[in-house]
């Protein structure tokens, strides 16, 4: 497809700077909004920063880009392509400015791109007729709304639960659940393969309530935990006291606690049920929760498959 509607070659040098300025200005506003939000909240706990919505802020960035592109009267197809470049620039900026990890960027990129595109497509039509002054006047209000939106959220706790059947009695499974040595198998989950920390081993100070536990992930990421409920051969619940400051893990969610439940089956096998409770700090919830559940499921299954392997030996 011809991405330049003007047939005049001498217009090209003028068009590309305009595209670029739109992308940079849109990204700049997005970056400032996220930066300002982080700056305003760093006085509190860095592990619970309420990021502005990844649904709303990129859309505003797209609208701003369209404001600068308006004189080009772009086709929707051109907007698709330039919103893509704008997203790439933003992700590069997030890596440098916010030290975001590659996994976070992979997770954020699809929603970010589609929202930049949504905003840019809306702006493309809007700025054809609406006076730009109107947009300039309402822009500060939009910024304020986006900054204030995180304060209006009520964070709710979610839980993800997985289960596996192990051909061994609960007493044998229990020994493998309370703590376990290094998992020898290589990670199979695609995000683990490209750098997301994955569980390696668990240590415990003993089989008693208030015992300290450590869940050790690769990249030296350690979750410090404390046993809060222990019913031998039945249930182990632990609070997660401290999460590692890995760039892929910090800030976006708070894991609260984990639990293993062992259920004796009539045929002599055991159903091992693993659960994790967490709170997400990024929005839109429906989008990031899909990813979080996808990832926690992989974490659960890596640990529980290894428990199964050892218990069935």
């Amino acid at each position: 497809m011809n991405t330049e509607s003007s047939p005049l070659p001498d217009n090209l040098p003028k068009r590309w700077p305009t595209w670029l300025i739109g992308m940079l200005m849109g990204d700049l506003v997005i970056g400032l909004l996220f930066g300002l939000s982080v700056f305003l909240q760093t006085a509190g706990s860095y592990q619970a920063i309420l990021f502005p919505s990844f649904f709303l802020v990129p859309a505003l960035g797209g609208i701003i880009a369209s404001y600068f592109w308006r004189k080009l009267e772009p086709h929707a197809g051109q907007v698709v392509l330039n919103a893509f470049w704008m997203t790439l620039i933003a992700l590069a900026g997030a890596t440098i400015g916010f030290h975001e990890g590659i996994i976070c960027l992979i997770i954020v990129a699809p929603i970010f791109y589609v929202m930049v595109l949504t905003g840019a497509l809306l702006g493309r039509i809007w700025f054809r007729k609406s006076p730009p002054r109107l947009f300039i006047n309402i822009l500060p209000w939009m910024v304020l709304v986006l900054l204030a939106e995180p304060m209006t959220r009520s964070d709710s706790e979610s839980v993800i639960t997985d289960e596996i059947i192990i051909r061994a009695p609960p007493a044998k499974v229990w020994r493998e659940v309370t703590s376990f040595p290094e998992i020898p198998t290589a990670p199979r989950f695609w995000l683990f393969s490209i750098g997301l920390p994955y569980p390696m081993a668990t240590t415990t100070a003993g089989d008693f309530v208030n015992a300290d536990r450590k869940c050790i992930f690769n990249h030296d990421a350690i979750f410090k935990e404390k046993v809060v409920e222990l019913i031998s051969n039945e249930k182990l619940t632990f609070e997660i006291l401290e999460s590692p400051r890995d760039p892929e893990l910090v800030g976006h969610l708070t894991p609260h606690r984990g639990q293993f439940v062992l259920r004796r089956n009539a045929n002599g096998t055991t159903t091992l049920v693993g659960s994790t409770w967490y709170t997400l700090h990024v929005r839109p919830l429906w989008y990031f929760d899909l990813w979080t559940q996808h990832i926690f499921r992989a974490v659960h299954m890596r640990v529980m498959q290894d428990v199964k392997r050892r218990a069935e030996l």
């Binding site: 497809m1 086709h75 197809g77 949504t118 497509l121």
Partner: protein, 137 residues
């Protein structure tokens, strides 16, 4: 996908921004998989703007709306190239009888008709439909 969402998740259209998000997704998939359709949609936009006093507007349920005074909305095009046009009852029934257009995907018994744009060959007829919408006043 479009028809599934329209049929089973129409209530989501009440969430501000969601129809536009969905339409951007539709347009993106059209751009990736059916580029010639996007070219046709862009051509329709250009041709529609050549009609007297027609201007573009963002459609409240996603897509681009063709507007003209005094008729108001003439029609709108969704991200996958589905053109919905508001005609007179007589004109819509006559067109439906030819089989070239379909009943509207949400309001089948209304004066609205739907026409799927697939290529540049469909543009003259799409413009004809918009002209019929202009003539309805």
């Amino acid at each position: 996908m479009f028809y599934f969402v329209v049929r089973y998740a129409r209530w989501l259209a009440r969430v501000p921004g969601l129809p536009q998000f969905f339409d951007a997704l539709l347009f993106l998939s059209t751009w990736i998989f059916k580029r010639s359709r996007v070219e046709a949609m862009e051509a329709l936009e250009n041709e529609a703007l050549r009609l007297p006093n027609v201007r573009l507007k963002n459609h409240r349920f996603g897509g681009t709306e063709f507007v003209r005074e005094p008729q108001g909305e003439l029609g709108h095009i969704h991200g996958q190239g589905l053109l919905d046009v508001l005609l007179t009852r007589e004109a819509s029934q006559k067109l439906l009888a030819t089989g070239r257009v379909r009943p509207h995907h949400v309001f089948p018994d209304s004066r609205w008709i739907s026409f799927q744009i697939k290529s540049m060959d469909d543009i003259p007829f799409a413009i004809e439909l918009l002209q019929m919408a202009i003539a309805r006043a």
